[in-house]
């Protein structure tokens, strides 16, 4: 540490030259492209919509911003009360057929780029409410990027799901169970259309994982 401080001081004084200077720059500069940097910034500064549908709202938007779970650690503590300012929406609970047009309108009012998380069994599949009043899965009327299972999911599960969403935003979605079951290529990425080819990063991550398993 002291060594590095001294070298930084030399650098500022202009005393660093040649090989020393090359190594100093190599250690401190990261080469990337603008898209990656933008997505990195986006994924670490997400504004959730202040929005709750049912009992899952107690677990997700309400618990997550408390000190115990603290969504601020992931850069998503700024809850926005207007869909115009929000980056993603958490569907926390069952969507009744009377509420579905309202949810769809909220989603349409959000500005691109935007994401949607379907939290819990009810908004993903209708859950226990297989009846006349509840929509059987919110992806019937709007695109969903991520489903979090549970009834309700614990706040930790929602945080885990949120970190997965961050990886997806950064263009490096988690292959998850596909790693274990050798199922690369079966992904249905919401943004790339159904059954589109996985990204180069995802394939590389998958290949690396397979090599680890085979070794």
């Amino acid at each position: 540490m002291r060594d590095r401080q001294l070298r930084a001081r030399d650098m500022l004084r202009g005393d660093l030259e040649g090989e020393e200077l090359e190594r100093y720059v190599e250690e401190r500069v990261v080469m990337t492209n603008f898209d990656k940097m933008l997505n990195w910034a986006r994924s670490n500064s997400m504004f959730p919509l202040t929005f709750g549908l049912a009992c899952c709202a107690i677990e997700a938007p309400i618990s997550l911003v408390t000190a115990r779970y603290d969504l601020a650690r992931f850069g998503a503590e700024a809850l926005r009360a207007s869909p115009r300012q929000a980056d993603f929406i958490i569907l926390s609970g069952r969507v009744s057929i009377k509420m579905a047009p309202v949810v769809r309108r909220l989603y349409d009012q959000m500005l691109e780029p935007k994401w949607a998380i379907s939290m819990g069994a009810c908004s993903s599949s209708g859950g226990m409410f297989s009846n006349y009043a509840v929509v059987q899965g919110a992806d019937k009327f709007m695109p969903i990027d991520l489903h979090i299972p549970g009834c309700p999911p614990r706040p930790e599960a929602v945080l885990y799901g949120f970190t997965k969403l961050q990886r997806k935003i950064q263009g490096n979605p988690d292959p998850g169970w596909r790693q274990r079951y050798n199922a690369a290529g079966t992904e249905e990425w919401a943004r790339g259309g159904p059954r589109s080819a996985p990204s180069a990063e995802a394939l590389a991550a998958y290949e690396a994982a397979r090599e680890l398993v085979n070794a």
Partner: protein
């Protein structure tokens, strides 16, 4: 709570003012109920509210029921309460297919929303209701979901016991 003989006394008194209105009485598990002719239900309710010595001035609940295999099929239940003696009395009006009954909003203003809910869920038409529209379901909903012949709804779920049905 009127006991079984008390219920018969009430029936006898109603019979003097509204002959033929009460079709049956039942006293089951401490609950007194009058089964009335649906055309005269409003008159019986008014009598129970206003007649001296009765004073069932409070409608604590109005709800409908579907007894599908039975006939007549629908029931509209009025739960009345005498708040001085704390006595409860149930009035049942039975209705067959295409159910219609007079609204009791003029007697008990609280019935307005409850009659709308009965209309929403069972399709029971209350004649004379000031605003008989759906209250819980969307306005463009088709069907009466709490009727027994309404499909349970949702979507078929693939379990192991029925996976052969869908190929």
């Amino acid at each position: 709570m009127p006991d079984a003989p008390g219920l018969e006394l009430i029936r006898g008194e109603i019979e003097q003012d509204h002959p033929g209105a009460v079709l049956d009485t039942s006293f089951d598990r401490g609950q007194a109920a009058l089964v009335v002719d649906s055309a005269q239900a409003l008159g019986v309710l008014r009598w129970l509210r206003d007649a001296p010595g009765q004073g069932y001035t409070f409608l604590s609940s109005l709800h409908a029921a579907d007894y599908l295999p039975a006939s007549p099929r629908f029931g509209v239940h009025y739960e009345l309460l005498n708040r001085d003696r704390v006595e409860r009395l149930r009035v049942k009006a039975m209705l067959s297919e295409d159910p219609k009954i007079d609204s009791c909003v003029e007697l008990f203003p609280t019935a307005e929303f409850q009659e709308r809910e009965a209309y929403d869920m069972f399709g029971i038409v209350f004649n004379g209701h000031p605003d008989l529209t759906r209250i819980l379901l969307p306005e463009d909903y088709v069907g009466w979901p709490q009727r027994r012949d309404f499909p349970v709804g949702g979507e078929p779920v693939l379990f192991t016991y029925n996976e052969g049905d869908r190929g």
